[in-house]
C-alpha cells in the first residue's frame, strides 16, 4: 500500500489556529509547546 508522505521528518509545520469542539481557539504552537504534540487527522464521525 502506498504511503505518501505529507511531511518529511525535520520539516517545520506551519502554525495555525482553529476552534476546538468547545469553541475555544487553539493554536498549534500552543498545543505543541512543552512536550510536543501528536496530531491526529481523522475522517470524521458519522
Amino acid at each position: 500500500m502506498d504511503e505518501a508522505q505529507i511531511f518529511h521528518p525535520g520539516e517545520i509545520a506551519k502554525d495555525f489556529a482553529l476552534p476546538d469542539s468547545t469553541g475555544a481557539t487553539r493554536r498549534l504552537s500552543e498545543l505543541a509547546g512543552g512536550e510536543g504534540l501528536i496530531l491526529i487527522f481523522y475522517r470524521g464521525y458519522w
Binding site: Q5, F7, L28, G36, I40, F41, G44
Partner: protein, 131 residues
Amino acid sequence: MAALAVDPHERSEAVRLRYGLQFPILCDTERRVVREWNLFNPEERGGIAVPAILMLDPGLRVLYATQGTVVSRVRAADMLSLVRERRNPSGNGPMQSPRNRIIFPRLREWAAALPDALSRRLLRPRKQRAV
C-alpha cells in the same frame, strides 16, 4: 495530543464526550488546514480529512508523519511505543518508525458498532417484503 476533523463542532464535541477524550478536537469546518496541509479528500461527504498522524516537537518540527487510508492506519500501540522510545531511549539504536497496517475490525468492534449505527439510524434494517 490533539485531533482534527472537518466535522461541525457539535458533532466533534459529541465524540469527545462520548469517548471521554482528554484532548481537544480541532474543527476545520472550512477545510482550511486540511487543504493547506494537503490532507483534503474532496471525494467523500463534501470533503473530509485524509487520516494522518503527525508527531511534532515544541518548535513544530516534524518528528514523524504518516498518512493512512480508509482501511490502513498506524496502530495506536505502535504510536505509543514511538512516544515511549522518544521519552526513554532504550539505547538499541534508532527505532523503526511505525508503518500502516490494514485494519481488521474484531468481532467485538463489529458487535459494538452495529447497535451504535442502528441507534443513530445510519443503517436501517431492510423492510420485510410483502409476500
